[in-house]
Every structure is written in structure tokens, then in C-alpha cells.
């Protein structure tokens, strides 16, 4: 009999079925595995179906975007930000654009601000749809995935009409946006939202409150509040642990002023309740487990729909233009800025160190998925093999962003 970590072999008062030990098995999960969401590799040390240790290995998608940033001007770097979190290119564009604007001391016109909120929140919906759909796939349910991708496809169609790209947009740029909306776009967007809202309830039926789904996710991979903060987890992972923290409300003033006259609720569980409308929390769910992490995203989708609707109204009323992009080789003032924005996956931070030239001296991308993933060994200790995809899926990582 081997020694189980954390259990005294002499202590016979603790007797559980997990005490029966077999020979340990090292299993390589990934980089080609259906549910590691890209090229993540996790080495599992297992005892039968029990995972004793999970060690993530990353870097398969490393392109050293930070080094590239030292060779190109800020506007030229925008396409590289698209390729970090490729499911939320708009949010990445915005994070980078705002960081450069913070360095330049630039503020975009009102119309551009509302358009940015509109586009970014729409992309947040798209990203969360992928998260929810693939999470269903991780748990063996194929159909919600197709439903989610159907809705996401409609958002991508809207984005295509706006900027011509479906995945790597490079639409939000330093100083504004690349183009104004085409005529009739807002009506299409509203039509989409009207059609989309009932679909959220379908997804709740198929996933959130589905009995098997709850059984698979409730109480699995519980991430305590303290641990989440300790590991620097952010976004839905942090809020899933019950921490009321959303950069759109609590962040840098330079970022929060974008949302200053918007009305939304932070998707977090307060006294066992989530912002309405949402189904009640099942009794099995423990704060910080996979179910809560998943559910926070579903609730955020509702809030994002609210934000998009407000942004449409505000954009319609706004006067003026959508801002002028800075010159491609505009000189940057010397200085250092760091800015984090609330991206769908968490807080994505960009940092620029400038020595007064057009090309930054150093670019830093603090990736939210990177920090969220680092908690994986902690969560996977002592779970079952089948829980590993459930936990990885609930962290909702994008390897493009982890590896940069």
C-alpha cells in the first residue's frame, strides 16, 4: 500500500474506498486531447480513476508576442492582440488600445465609447457561448454546443458586417475604431438580441439545471475564495468563488469611465442568489465549484445583453464621430503604463514601457487564462479522471492567451 498524500497511513479512523490502492499510472492528457481546449498538456498521475496529481505543461502555442511588441508600433501590434484570446478579439483589441491611450492621455469621443461597449459586450457574449457550449461537450453533451455555436455564428456575422473579419478583428484601434457601423446594423443587432434572449433559457434547461450536469459539476473542483485570490484568478473564475470583483466597476478609472453611465449587475452569488433573471442555485452546488464558475458566465451573458441594449440606445443618441486612429508611427511619450481590462476570461493586463520612440521599449501581456490555469494542480488533486475535463472546462482557458 502506498502512502496517500495528506493521510496518515497509521490512522485507521479514516477509512474510505479511496484507500484501496493500485499501481500508479502516468497518463499524458494532451496536447492532442479533445477536451484540453487547444494544446494544453496535463500529465496525470493516477491511481485507477483517481487523480493524485495533475501537472500542466504549457507553451505549445508560444509565439513570444511580447518580443514582437518590441519591434512594432502600437497600432501594428493590434493584430497580435487578436491572436491572444482568439475567442474575444475585440476585448483584446480594447485592452491594448486603452493601454496605449492611457499612455498618450487620449480619450475617445462619446460615440466611439458607446460603440466600443457595444462591440466588446457582444464579443463577451460570443466568448461565453463558446465557453458554455464546449463545457457541455466536455461533459459529454453535444447538443448545447451546437446551439451555442449557432448563436455565436450570428454574432460573428454581425462582426463580419462591421469589420470584415470573423475571428481576428483588429477593429478597435488606438484612438477610436477602424470604421463606423454599416447602415441597418443596429436593427440587425437588436433583432439578434430579441431572438437570443429566449435561447439563454434553453441553455439553462440543457445545462445549468440539468440533473446530470449538476451532478457532474456541483461540488467538483471547489476553489475557495482565498485560494482564488492567492493564485491571481480573475474574471468568472474569481466571481465563481464568490468574490464580488469586476473591473468594469472596480477597475482603473481610465477603464471604468467607459462604463460610467451604464447600468449592470456584477454576476456574483450574493447570499446564495445570482442577479435575476436566472434559475435558482441547486442545493448541491458549493460556492467556488465548477457549477458556479459555469453559471457566472451564463449570468454574465444576460448582463451583457443588457449592456448591449443600453449601448445601442446611447450610440443612437450620441453626436460626433467615432474618433481618429493615431498615426501608424506616432511617437509615444516616455513612461510606463499598466492597465487591466475585464475580458471574458478574466483580467487581461497590458503594459507598455516607452522611452519616447514610436516603438515601445517593452510590451507585457498579463494573461488571465495563464493565472487561471495555474490553479489547476490545486483543483485536480484527488479528483477523478472524468473531473479533469470538467475542471479544465470550467476554468475556460484559451491556449492562445496562456502561451501568447
Amino acid at each position: 500500500m502506498n502512502v496517500i498524500p495528506g493521510v496518515d497511513p497509521e490512522d485507521f479512523s479514516v477509512t474510505s474506498e479511496t484507500e484501496v490502492r493500485t499501481e500508479e499510472l502516468l497518463i499524458n492528457m494532451g496536447p492532442q486531447h479533445p477536451s484540453t481546449h487547444g494544446v494544453l498538456r496535463v500529465v496525470l498521475r493516477t491511481d485507477g480513476e483517481l487523480v493524485l496529481e495533475a501537472i500542466p505543461h504549457i507553451g505549445y502555442l508560444h509565439r513570444c508576442a511580447e518580443k514582437i511588441g518590441e519591434k512594432v508600433t502600437p497600432r501594428q501590434f493590434i493584430p497580435y492582440t487578436d491572436r491572444m484570446d482568439y475567442l474575444a478579439g475585440m476585448n483584446m483589441n480594447l485592452g491594448w488600445a486603452l493601454t496605449v491611450e492611457k499612455l498618450l492621455g487620449l480619450e475617445v469621443p462619446e460615440k466611439a465609447r458607446h460603440l466600443r461597449v457595444l462591440i466588446v459586450e457582444l464579443n463577451r457574449i460570443a466568448s461565453h457561448l463558446v465557453a458554455a457550449g464546449t463545457y457541455g461537450l466536455d461533459l459529454g453533451s453535444f447538443t448545447p454546443f451546437v446551439y451555442c455555436f449557432r448563436e455565436r455564428e450570428k454574432i460573428l456575422n454581425l462582426f463580419e458586417a462591421v469589420c470584415g473579419a470573423r475571428l481576428t478583428y483588429s477593429y478597435i484601434t488606438v484612438g477610436g475604431l477602424m470604421a463606423d457601423l454599416p447602415s441597418g446594423w443596429l436593427d440587425q443587432c437588436e433583432a439578434f438580441l430579441d431572438q437570443f434572449e429566449p435561447v439563454i433559457d434553453d441553455l439553462h434547461d440543457l445545462l445549468s439545471v440539468n440533473h446530470i450536469f449538476v451532478k457532474r459539476t456541483a461540488g467538483v473542483g471547489v476553489l475557495s475564495r482565498e485560494l482564488a485570490v492567492d493564485y491571481g484568478c480573475t474574471g468568472p473564475v474569481l466571481r465563481g468563488s464568490g468574490v464580488d470583483w469586476d473591473l468594469r466597476r472596480d477597475g482603473d478609472p481610465f477603464y471604468t469611465r467607459m462604463y460610467r453611465d451604464y447600468d449592470f449587475e456584477v454576476a456574483v452569488c450574493r447570499d446564495g442568489k445570482y442577479p435575476q433573471p436566472s434559475p435558482p442555485v441547486p442545493t448541491e452546488a458549493v460556492l467556488g465549484d465548477c457549477w458556479h464558475r459555469f453559471f457566472v458566465r451564463m449570468v454574465e451573458v444576460v448582463q451583457s445583453v443588457r449592456l448591449v441594449r443600453q449601448a445601442i440606445e446611447k450610440y443612437r443618441l450620441a453626436e460626433g464621430d467615432i474618433g481618429q486612429p493615431i498615426k501608424l508611427n506616432q511617437k509615444l511619450p516616455p513612461g510606463e503604463v499598466y492597465l487591466e481590462t475585464e475580458c471574458p476570461k478574466g483580467q487581461m493586463g497590458f503594459m507598455i514601457v516607452s522611452l519616447g520612440e514610436a516603438i515601445p521599449w517593452r510590451v507585457r501581456a498579463r494573461s488571465s487564462s495563464f493565472c487561471n490555469l495555474s490553479v489547476l494542480p490545486e483543483l485536480c488533486r484527488g479528483c477523478l479522471v472524468a473531473d479533469v475535463p470538467a475542471i479544465v472546462g470550467s476554468l475556460d482557458i484559451v491556449l492562445g492567451e496562456v502561451d501568447r
Binding site: I58, G59, V229, D230, G232, G349, V353
Partner: protein, 176 residues
């Protein structure tokens, strides 16, 4: 809490080890001596008036002008900077710490500069320090598992150093 107040707290406790950085820049910062960084961080986290529970990011910036013509006019002496971004979720304030390091320990090229780890203060640092070690070449003393994280384990050099040369070939793959 403003940066001046935070600095007051730190100076009372650590004296010479902390120096005022730039309080007027966009993101004001405090300079911390390399040997004191772990203690300062622990103090910042545990002090009830400060409570910096979250480490956002560790960044290393390499200051070296490789072009010899420009190097003569450069506004800095060659060095490495570590930048720590911290914030408190409960008290809602932020601070930036900087640690100045030589580019090489004792100016021997190839000897990585050393700094105490903060991974026992915040677990975020576990991976961030590995990343800094991997890409910028800083050795974190006391880190439990200081391996390369983004580059392959047998990679040579630290890509984010300014004098880094991309290898011509890596395992038979043309790299340059």
C-alpha cells in the same frame, strides 16, 4: 490609500530598503531593494491597513541598448527591472513595486541575477516567476519549481533580453 501613505508604511518598517520611485508618473511606483522584496511583499499582504491580497503581474524589463551608437546617448545604465503590480480587493487600492537588478550577477555574463521569490506570499508568482526566469533570465531564490514554462526545456537563452540571439537551428528546424 495613496501611494505616499503606502510608502510611509513601508519606510517605517523597512527604512533604507525601500526608496520612493516616481509618485507623479501615470502608474506611481516604489523602489524596493532586491534582498527585501519578499519581506516587503509579505508585509504588504499581511498588514491590515494595506492588505494587498492579489499579485497581478511580474514583469521584467531589460534596459540595454544593443546598438553601440545609440548606447552612448542612452538615458539609462544597463540593468534589469522587475515590476510587481499589486492590488487589494478589500481596500481597493493599487501599488507598483520595482526592483532594480544588474543584468548579470557580479557582471559575469551568463550568471543570472538573483532575487528572493515571492511565490510563498502569493501563489500567482509560481508561474509568473517561472515565466520571468524563462523569458528574461532572473533566478528566483527559493522558488520550489523554477523551470522554463513557455519555451521548451532545452531552449538556450532568454528571449526577452535585448541582446538575445535567436538560434539558427533548433532540433533540425530552421529558426532564423
Amino acid at each position: 490609500m495613496s501611494i505616499e501613505e503606502i510608502f510611509q508604511h513601508l519606510q517605517e518598517k523597512f527604512g533604507e530598503a525601500v526608496r520612493p520611485g516616481d509618485f507623479t508618473s501615470i502608474d506611481p511606483w516604489i523602489e524596493v531593494g532586491p534582498e527585501a522584496i519578499a519581506d516587503v511583499c509579505r508585509f504588504l499582504r499581511d498588514n491590515p491597513a494595506l492588505r494587498f491580497e492579489m499579485l497581478h503581474c511580474i514583469t521584467a524589463v531589460d534596459y540595454l541598448e544593443v546598438d553601440e551608437k545609440k548606447a552612448a546617448k542612452a538615458s539609462f545604465v544597463p540593468h534589469l527591472e522587475l515590476i510587481y503590480h499589486l492590488s487589494s480587493l478589500t481596500l481597493r487600492h493599487r501599488v507598483t513595486l520595482k526592483v532594480m537588478l544588474p543584468r548579470w550577477r557580479d557582471d559575469h555574463p551568463g550568471q543570472l541575477p538573483r532575487v528572493p521569490t515571492v511565490s510563498n506570499v502569493w501563489k500567482t508568482a509560481l508561474w509568473h516567476e517561472r515565466e520571468v526566469y524563462d523569458l528574461s533570465g532572473v533566478e528566483f531564490v527559493g522558488h520550489p519549481d523554477l523551470r522554463r514554462i513557455l519555451c521548451p526545456e532545452d531552449w538556450v537563452g532568454h528571449p526577452l533580453r535585448k541582446d538575445y540571439q535567436m538560434p539558427i537551428e533548433y532540433h533540425g528546424i530552421r529558426a532564423r
